[in-house]
Amino acid sequence: MSDKETVTLKIDGIEVTVDKGSKVYDAAQKAGVYLPGLCYDPKLTRFGGCRMCVVDITSRGRTRGKWACCEPASNGVEVTTDSDGIRKKRQIMMEFLLMYHPLDCPTCNESGACGLQDAAFYIKQKKGRAPQKRRNEPLLIDNPVLERDFNKCILCGKCVIICDEIQGKRAIDFQQRGFEAEVGTELRVPLDCDYCGQCLAVCPTGSFQDHTEDYKGHDWEYTKTVTTCPYCAVGCSIVINTKGGKIVKVSSDDYVGVNNGNLCAKGRFGHEAYQADDRIKTPMVKGGSGWDLACWAPVLDEVAEKLKDIAEKNGPDSIAVVVGESLSNEDAFMVKKAFGEGLGVKRIDSLSNMRNRDLNSGLMTALGSSAPIVSYDEIKKAGAFLFVGCDAEKENPVIANMIRVAMRDNKTPLYVANARDTLFEPHEKLRVRYNYGGETALVAGIVTAVLNAATTDRAKELGKSAKKISLKHAEEYSGVATKDIKTLAEGLTANGAPMIFMGSEIFDHQAGADIARAVADLADVTGGKALLYREYCNSQGVNDMGIGADSPDGDLFTDIAGGRVKALVLAGADPSVFARDGKSVLDAIGKAEYVVATSSYMNASAELADVVLPSCVAVEREGTLTNNEGRVQQWRKAVEPLGDSKPDWRIFSKLGSLLGVDCGCSKIDEITSEIAQKIDGYAEITPKSLMWGGQQVSYSAESVSYQYGTEPMEIPASDGYTHRVLFGNSLYHIGSLSHRSKALTEIENDVMAELDFDEAEKNGLSEGDNIRIESEKSSINAVVRISDSAVPGIVFIPKSFSDNPALTLAGRADAATMVKITKVASE
């Protein structure tokens, strides 16, 4: 902050210094002076519509009425926020508002958390002198998550601005004119948007209502617990609102965490999943006629005995553990400790690791400081953005929000290099589409162009000798024109250090590690940073805990099927959906001698287990998790665990004790402290340091040279299969949790396969058609979505749907998965 210019002014005699460019409103807040302002939000462009924040500003001897939310703070001015004249002005404005806004506070969901109530109370507004002038519109419920009450809207415009500026959607805007003016969709067609609920979060009145809250209570009745969102890897802070031990809703707080109050549909409306009816509440043991309910102690004894037995008979390598990436650091640490120390098990792995070890855990050690862990703060400072194989909007929506804010504030240019035409508002400066398999060639080409231009310090230092590919080859391999490659190089270096984002396309790529290294190289020569999107809320942390570090090579499920691995422990993991070639995975699990699963919900893999142990969900437990930027944040307990469910760390510490390990932990803080001692980079991470907003892991940085192949990947031809699959996550579903949420499944219940318009039309397919997608391995049902992001020859399929798991289509070592699509008659 020290490099910023500041201005000093007086608010009601209190001297405050604020950054240049701040508004008088910000200064008043800093001085601790309350101003009624209904349309002001520091994170949005000013609107100036409610006129409530009127103040008197004296500058150069002249006093004039100005609006604090619009007036830039300038040196030496004196601001008076309260006087008879000002009060009168505000009173008249409030009188107008209350003639318009219905005074049905007793039956309003927003009551108690209502900005209008607060302001009216402050102004001490009494009954209006002219008859009221109300609108009489019925409540509009046209989507699963948001209710609209047009009568209560005071047109502060915040929802419109956040939808445009931060969400990039422009799903709602002002409609009509004059008294009839309202915020909504054109002609009131049903809302079709990201359902992020950002509009709901900023609405000062009850005009936007959370449908999932469903009038369960008033704001003052709720207990609020700040915790970390258990869905994706951004690590947003969410506020769990509970009443009587039940979760009522999730809200956001602008002043806590990394997300500045922004949330996506999953985080804000996915809370029904946490306490869903079909949670596993008791340990279950498979008996002759199905599942028998059991008590913890005998079940754990039995599991320990059985595993000990198998280890003794077949050696520790006959036992394997798969750790889910939505477990906390403590969970993962305890799994490793219990099985590693107790039974000498080496094969403790995560699915990401098994899919792409080089990329997932190898990268951290292979790469230097520039990748792939960078702070989100870098987004604000970046001189340009580049997406490589990344659908920012869908994968990590809140990072997309941060990018948009930076683009708004700094006019940061955006460049996109994807295999598809993924959408992003506001628009990019240049978009290139590369041939699948030619990613490294493209990135290496940009590196070459940067080195040729030699405008950055690092490029000058390295000289042309460092280049790894000629531009001609880059064009040939990647399919991107040399001209565009040069433009990208120029764009990335023109305004200072760029920031490069890699998404799931890279993550699922067989050559992902090479691509990531090439991107790190690019970051190095441009002086920029690179960020690899992780998939789940603790993908990074599970990795850091050393899960997979000692795993032997070789495919786990082949080994199980071949009888080399006898016992399998699934700690919050469901390989049947989230591993490639799910059918063979299920076959393998079925062949295992003994399978133990911990899970909150029943899933296809757990169905095959001998013992299923109920683990509780994120909001019922404590723990720490590490997000995309390597920031460790806390899970805090908002509600009591359902039934007999327990956090995984507790289950495994008990099991560990039974296996003879000194787990001795009864408190989570002890494990956190043990992690700080034993895990590299986590030394500073203590329960105390996490209290406010978490703390970043200090990863050791090495200076390395980036080795990667630039030859295009060979993709074997496959006859009869027409489309290449890109796997990814849908905006509304990730992992298995989101599918338990009523709201999210109402928004999206089917596998939406994204196809190009022209191509679909040629094949007689249109939006909403049921299709069958078939590969050499298996087939799934899906529904066609015609998408502007799609390109011919590529079908995008979200992978987390357990009814139709997309990953079953893929062979485990496929360079590319090819499918054919047939239309099926709708039921």
Binding site: G49, R51, C70, I92, F96, Y100, L155
Partner: protein, 603 residues
């Protein structure tokens, strides 16, 4: 017109006002006449000459004689007029006036300048309107067009700074309503360095009763374009837009045509007239929102957004359209620019008052004899405008009020008639120059109803962004409507005053800052009339329908008794040969008695 005429020309006033009066039929009739009689003449479509009250107009100009203006021409008259004219005997009955350029005049036809309405006028800006063919760039050039541009850009090569200083010295004030100092605005904008700058022309004329901009755009579009190019040169604009409302299709079409002609002639495009300066201008059609006449809303509209004003700062001159420095001026302001350059500052200043140079165009309408477009030097008094130029109130009715500046101006009473028309005086009086509409009201106009009408317009046209304008105006409209229905209370008058003042001080943009003005001035000047509505439940002008009462006029009642029997409620009482009595409490205002009365004794 200095051009030598070679063959007869027939000018038909085909501005929107002419067309509305039936000029199209006249045009067809003329064409048919020429065809039939093998009369070799050119037909020129001109635009409004300002004399809207006598439309459709047809001028006939035969070489060697003066140009005669025929008024209220019907297609059936065409043959007679042309026959007569060709024989050297103009139809005097239909002739309004004649224009001469040193050619011999016809006897018995007044000169155009001698007309009553033209005596006080100074057609300084309108000098081409209705006279030249607006589509013809050559005619504009012949009347002195683009000489100012040539002077500044080519002949005398003024520095932009010098030119802006020149405009500043001319005291040219924005004619859009606010009277903002044009030169100062331009010099502010010129200060900012940017890769792109914009010059915008506000042709979104939306006030009821205002048609000055339309007349200029239809009658002399090149003058506006020339002014814009000059302004663009002064501030260093890289692109220009004319924001014209789509309801002016003729103006839009004409502008597009003229801009194309300018591009061909090198007045627009790269290196204008061989100078270093490049500019292109396009027309952007507005979608009909009144608020888009506000500068920031206009800019949003051009950007493709919803026309909604934004708070300032930053001012448009710093970050306007697409966040680039932008200057927005009104049509009339731009039309002034080439004229100022041509005649020089001294002469220009001598035209107007002390604080503002030049003339102002007004659109006179309402209860006035010579409705139309007039141009008077700034500082002319209201009385001169209305009674001398406008010819006063028709049908010998009394003057009651003049609404200046449309829905954002005010209604001024007779006591203010001797005020000079300039920016400051009008604001002091409680009205504003506005764009220049003057709606004259005679004694039959109900001031409550008039202010209600203006308020309805503003409440309707409010964009809905800020609280005072969206809700306040509607509340005021409600109160006024109540009063017109006889449901008003005395407190309402204070409420109108109080709410109105706060709406004006708290609103975000000019619409809300001025919308209560008509109501405020009406309450101020015609308070008695409001009280009559509220207390006596009576509308003195019988304009408010809900307050309409039937009354017996004793002088006219013959005592025929025809009304007594039909009255369904027995409200009319009386004997034959006696003046009847109407019991207001029983009357249900069915109107039967009114129909029955043969002596107009029941009103």
């Amino acid at each position: 017109m200095s051009q030598q005429l070679e063959k007869p020309k027939i000018f038909i006033g085909m501005g929107t006002c002419g067309l509305a009066a039936g000029a199209k039929g006249v045009h067809e009739a003329v064409a048919a006449y020429l065809d039939e009689k093998k009369f070799d003449a050119d037909i020129v479509k001109t635009a409004c000459a300002g004399t809207c009250y006598v439309e459709p107009l047809m001028d006939v100009h035969i070489p060697g004689n003066s140009r005669v203006i025929y008024q209220k021409v019907k297609p059936a008259d065409v043959g007679k007029i042309l026959d007569g004219h060709r024989e050297g005997a103009p139809l005097k009955k239909k002739a309004l006036a004649q224009w001469s350029n040193g050619e011999p005049d016809y006897e018995g036809i007044p000169g155009f300048k001698d007309l009553e309405l033209n005596q006080l006028q100074n057609r300084f800006i309108l000098h081409n309107c209705g006279i030249i063919d607006p589509d013809s760039i050559e005619e504009y050039e012949a009347s002195g067009g683009y000489t100012a541009l040539r002077k500044v850009l080519v002949d005398e090569k003024w520095e932009p700074k010098v030119f802006v200083q020149f405009i500043e010295d001319s005291k040219l004030r924005g004619r859009g309503g606010g009277g903002f100092d044009t030169g100062w605005k331009w010099s502010e904008c010129a200060k900012y360095d940017a890769d792109e700058k914009f010059i915008l022309c506000n042709a979104d004329e939306g006030d009821p009763g205002a048609f000055m901009d339309r007349a200029l755009l239809e009658g002399d579009p090149h003058a506006v374009i020339e002014g814009m190019i000059l302004g663009g040169y002064g501030i260093g604009a890289t692109f220009g837009y004319i924001y014209c409302r789509a309801e002016y299709p003729q103006a839009v079409q004409r502008l597009n045509h003229c801009l194309e002609a300018c591009r061909k002639k090198g007045y627009l495009g790269k290196n204008i007239m061989g100078s270093d300066y490049s500019l292109d201008i396009i027309v952007k059609e507005g979608a009909g929102a009144f608020v888009c006449g506000e500068s920031t809303a206009l800019q949003y509209s051009i950007e493709g957004g919803r026309g909604m004003p934004r708070p300032r700062p930053p001012q448009s001159v710093e970050a306007g359209l697409w966040d680039k420095p932008t200057v927005l001026n009104n049509v009339e302001t731009f039309a002034n620019v080439p004229r100022v350059v041509n005649i020089g500052i001294e002469k220009y200043l001598s035209l107007g008052s002390e604080k503002s140079g030049g003339t102002k165009i007004f659109a006179l309408s309402g209860a006035i004899k010579n409705a139309g477009l007039i141009e008077v030097p700034i500082g002319t008094t209201l009385r001169q405008v209305i009674f001398d130029v406008g010819g006063g109130i028709p049908k010998k009715k009394k003057f009651k009020s003049v609404a200046i500046g449309g829905p954002s101006g005010g209604c001024l009473p007779e006591s203010t008639l001797d005020y000079p028309v300039d920016f400051e005086t009008l604001i002091e009086a409680g009205a504003m120059m506005g764009s220049g509409s003057m709606v004259v009201c005679d004694e039959d106009t109900c001031m409550v109803e008039l202010s209600r009408f203006f308020m309805e317009f503003c409440a309707d046209e409010s964009c809905g962004k800020c609280t005072p304008c969206r809700i306040g105006n509607t509340v005021l409209l409600d109160i006024l409507t109540r009063i017109t229905k006889g449901e008003g209370r005395m407190e309402d008058l204070d409420l109108i005053d109080e709410y109105g003042k706060y709406i004006m001080s708290m609103s975000l943009c000019g619409l809300g800052k001025s919308s209560p003005a008509p109501a405020l001035s009406a309450v101020k000047f015609y308070r008695e009339e409001f009280i009559k509505h509220i207390v006596d439940k009576e509308c003195p002008t019988v304009k408010c329908e809900a307050l309409r009462k039937y009354i017996i006029i004793p002088e006219d009642c013959t005592g025929c008794g025809a009304c007594i029997k039909p009255c369904p409620t027995g409200a009319i009482m009386g004997q034959r040969k006696e003046i009847v009595y109407l019991n207001q409490e029983l009357c249900i205002e069915c109107g039967v008695c009114y129909d029955k009365c043969n002596f107009l004794a029941i009103l």
